[in-house]
């Protein structure tokens, strides 16, 4: 498998390169997930989102998640990339690609990666709405 493909980027995500990094001749299934900035959140209109990260730790956690899946589902090759900075509606903040000889494992791996990223990877988003900007997710603040 080589080194874990788990990166942060400040640029738009290159899906084609992500898929190429996982696909081998033995694979019959490729599942991808993209998390995209949407135009609303909990009833508010969203204009853009700024993503901030504890970069060194976020890269370690992304690589750890890829390694975990490599142990749990050894048939699957996994790649993940998360974008940082300001993103507008429709742009991808995260992309995951999972390739496997069979589709069940590729779906499972892809879903698991995004769930673990959302739970553990030290990345934070600040939403810009018509009322201003706000960090998301810590109850009681603001």
């Amino acid at each position: 498998m080589g080194d874990a493909f788990a990166h942060l980027t400040d640029d738009p995500i290159d899906f084609r390169a992500l898929i190429a990094s996982v696909q081998g001749r033995e694979d019959g299934a490729i599942v991808t997930f993209a998390g995209v900035v949407r135009d609303h959140s909990e009833g508010k209109s969203v204009e853009s989102i700024h993503y901030d990260a504890y970069r060194s730790m976020a890269e370690k956690e992304l690589a750890a998640i890829v390694s975990e899946l490599g142990r749990e589902l050894p048939e699957v090759r996994v790649a993940v990339i998360h974008r940082l900075g300001r993103l507008v509606v429709g742009e991808a903040s995260i992309a995951i690609a999972c390739a496997s000889p069979h589709r069940a494992e590729a779906f499972t791996a892809c879903r698991e990666v995004i769930e673990r990223v959302k739970k553990r990877v030290p990345i934070w988003k600040k939403e810009r709405t018509p009322e201003g900007e706000e960090w998301v997710g810590w109850q009681g603040g603001g």
Partner: protein, 81 residues
């Protein structure tokens, strides 16, 4: 001993800095540093759950004593993905 405290997202904005060196007594824990930060920045009292703790880029028990040179970060609830 000296450690380095890193601050992200809302914590960076409240404290007004993305990192600061801290001079601590031997055996000080991350939880104690958090309490000190809350006293210095009353706005932090509003947050009803304490942040997670990372030491040297790994999640750590807030009750573990810090060691000289540690890189300590408080991790507000993450919202990446």
């Amino acid at each position: 001993m000296q450690i380095r405290l890193l601050l992200f997202a809302v914590l960076r904005e409240v404290v007004g800095s993305d990192q600061k060196p801290l001079e601590l007594e031997e055996g000080t824990t991350a939880a104690e540093v958090w309490e000190r930060l809350r006293r210095e920045h009353p706005r932090l009292a509003a947050y009803d759950t304490p942040p997670m703790v990372a030491v040297n880029q790994e999640y750590a028990d807030p009750a573990t004593p810090l060691r000289p040179g540690d890189e300590l970060a408080f991790i507000p609830p993450v919202s990446g993905g």
